[in-house]
């Protein structure tokens, strides 16, 4: 259902133009990578504060409130450039095992943020000044560090897909996970 739509998307004029462009694609890709420093850089700084490994003398709520606008702005640029990169080669990305893993890890990272804000962060006034936050907050910090590291690694490996649908034969499991249509 999604595949025919993406196949049509791949044939649109702009998708082909972006895919074949000499400058546009590298520029979008470079922006996507360099914005990592703003998005993941600030997100991981907050994670390190949560785990008590950086900025210990700055209140946790301060770190979060001051870094969050940067994290959000970085995420907006990453999402915009990421959508463009996906649009340049929609089918190749959709059937890419690393792209799929990356998306799942991003959902999990989002879930982790949601749980953190619904849970221990509500009582930040009780623990925010302590150099070492409580266990639940530290766990959220470590989970976030692991998940975003995974997202970055999978993101980089999208370009090296060793399990591309064009490379056959592959194990059935790989083809199933990648959504390859094998005759």
């Amino acid at each position: 259902m999604l595949l025919p739509f993406l196949q049509r998307l791949a044939e649109t004029e702009w998708s082909v133009a972006l895919h074949e462009s000499l400058w546009m694609w590298p520029l979008v890709e470079s922006t996507h990578v360099l914005t990592l420093t703003i998005f993941a850089g600030t997100a991981m700084l907050f994670d390190l504060r949560l785990t008590g490994r950086a900025l210990r003398s700055v209140p946790a709520a301060q770190v979060m409130l001051r870094l969050l606008p940067w994290t959000r702005a970085g995420f907006a640029v990453m999402a915009a450039t990421g959508i463009l990169l996906f649009y340049a080669t929609p089918v190749r990305n959709y059937q890419n095992i690393f792209f799929r893993t990356k998306m799942i890890m991003m959902v999990l990272a989002g879930l982790n943020v949601w749980i953190f804000h619904r849970g221990i962060y509500r009582r930040v006034h009780e623990w925010g000044d302590a150099p070492l936050p409580p266990r639940a907050a530290r766990l959220a910090g470590y989970a976030s560090l692991v998940l975003w590291t995974g997202v970055i690694v999978c993101g980089r490996l999208i370009a090296y897909n060793w399990f591309d649908c064009d490379i056959q034969p592959q194990p059935d499991l790989i083809n199933w996970v990648s959504g390859c249509v094998v005759p």
């Binding site: 590298p26 890709e29 470079s30 990578v33 360099l34 990592l36 420093t37 703003i38 993941a40 850089g41 600030t42 991981m44 700084l45 390190l48 950086a54 900025l55 210990r56 003398s57 700055v58 301060q62 770190v63 001051r66 870094l67 940067w70 590291t149 970055i152 690694v153 980089r156 490996l157 370009a159 090296y160 060793w162």
Partner: protein
């Protein structure tokens, strides 16, 4: 003059080892990227604080202590992974303009971070004027941005 050296480096065992592996180069690249995030995050944290944009009501020292430590971790990760990446494609780097832009900016960026910027950042608010602090942050940002952008461009050349 440098070309024979680069040819020799590329032919040497470490580069050869990485080239014969299917996944080693991408794997090292991934760690290089994590280093970029740490280094970039640390640079942004301290430079934006020096510019008075980020955490302006927190003491400079409490921000710069963590920032400098993270910066060193980031630099360490990037150098440890960057050298093998270079060794595996030294001749390509020799002919890449982006590589030379990166290297000639990396030296002043590192020197600046370890000398002027470190002193200004660890000196606290009282030792330097607002303008000096802001200028230090701005110079550092421009230097590191150039290093990162040129670094990404090596892959496209």
């Amino acid at each position: 003059m440098l070309l024979p050296l680069f040819q020799w480096l590329e032919a040497a065992a470490p580069g050869e080892f990485i080239r014969t592996s299917l996944w080693l180069f991408p794997a090292i690249e991934c760690v290089h990227l994590i280093g970029l995030v740490l280094l970039g995050g640390a640079v942004l944290l301290v430079d934006l604080r020096l510019l008075g944009v980020l955490l302006p009501n927190q003491p400079l020292r409490s921000v710069s202590d963590s920032g400098q430590r993270l910066l060193l971790w980031g630099v360490a990760l990037m150098v440890v992974t960057g050298v093998p990446l270079f060794l595996s494609e030294a001749i390509k780097c020799y002919y890449s303009q982006a590589f030379w832009v990166k290297m000639t900016t990396l030296v002043p960026a590192l020197l600046f971070a370890l000398t002027v910027r470190r002193r200004v950042a660890s000196g606290g608010e009282d030792t330097r004027s607002r303008a000096v602090r802001a200028l230090t942050g701005a110079i550092s940002l421009v230097l590191w941005f150039t290093v990162a952008a040129a670094g990404r461009w090596i892959g496209f050349s």
